[in-house]
């Protein structure tokens, strides 16, 4: 069973390119439909929990599923399966990149990739802004964070701790 958990998440980790959100449908198909380890409802609860908790969402949902199915050892197997393919591949890529980074063709490719990365971050920003329940009344909040962090150099850690304290105070009022 532990081996099966490991291999399932290994497959998920190896065959999804594009990060966490690309992995979620595949994880759902494997753990809900194919193996029937958890019900669809449990998965959706797990997904909500994974999005609330800090850290990579794909890692969080694999921890949730592994723990549900087989406790702490299931959890470790699921996490190892999820991250091993990417850790291995990226180490290879990093080694190659160190060797070829100075080649003219690589530099040319990255001269176009850099502005594309800006677009790559701008698009999920818009999507997250829509999903976060942002409206005219609370838009000052992300705006203030962007200015404090992006222009004035305030550490996000303080802002996050402050936000948690503020949210608790708000709900106790």
């Amino acid at each position: 069973m532990l081996l099966k958990i490991f291999l399932t998440f290994l497959k998920i980790g190896a065959f999804t390119i594009g990060g966490g959100y690309a992995m979620i449908p595949l994880i759902k198909r494997e753990v809900c439909s194919r193996h029937a380890w958890i019900t669809e409802e449990e998965f959706l609860d797990g997904l909500a929990a994974s999005q609330s908790a800090p850290g990579p969402i794909a890692v969080n949902i694999s921890i949730y599923t592994g723990y549900h199915v087989r406790g702490k050892s299931g959890m470790l197997m699921a996490v190892l399966g999820t991250i091993l393919p990417s850790t291995f591949t990226i180490l290879m890529v990093a080694m190659l990149f160190n060797q070829y980074a100075d080649q003219a063709v690589v530099k040319r490719a990255f001269s176009a990739l850099k502005p594309a990365v800006v677009a790559l971050i701008a698009v999920p920003l818009i999507q997250m802004a829509k999903k976060s329940g942002m409206n005219l009344r609370n838009a000052w909040f992300p705006l203030a964070v962007a200015i404090l962090v992006g222009l004035l150099g305030v550490s996000p850690v303080y802002l996050i701790l402050l936000t948690i304290a503020y949210a608790i105070w708000e709900s106790r009022r």
């Binding site: 065959f15 594009g18 990579p56 591949t89 080694m95 790559l120 608790i168």
Partner: protein
Amino acid sequence: MMLLSMLFTFFKIGLFSFGGGYAILAMIQQEVVIKHAWLTEAEFMEVVAISQMTPGPIAINAATFIGYHKAGILGGLLCTIGVILPSLIIMMIITLSYLKLKKLAWFQQIFKRLRLVSVGLIAAALIMILGNAVQSLFAVAVFAVSFVCTWKFKLNPFTMLIATAIFGAIFGSA
């Protein structure tokens, strides 16, 4: 000392990133580029592009890449462990008690607020890389085309980046 500092830094990144991959990238930029200067802004953008083009979670890819870049294979492994350790601890607690926690008003309120913070943090990351990444007319054009393709035409990021890399290799400047 360097290794220990990297492990601790990535633990902190994992602990304070709410909202998945792009929020984590914003935290990585804060800690790795601005606070510790382990990477330049330009190198950070290379890491983001490479992390998106290789399999697996972007945050894991970025952590491993940066760790390897600064301190070899051991560095890569330690940064990866650092960034997932908070997830392991917190998800274990949440998995046991999520059904109870999600009914509590203060728990809901915290995450409602933190979602807005994540939007602000990603916007901050964007502000910081904008000046470095979009300096020429060529860059503005590439940005505009890749933005429209990803947003309007729902082109997936992987295909978009591969196409951009090929385009850059032919028409870009070294």
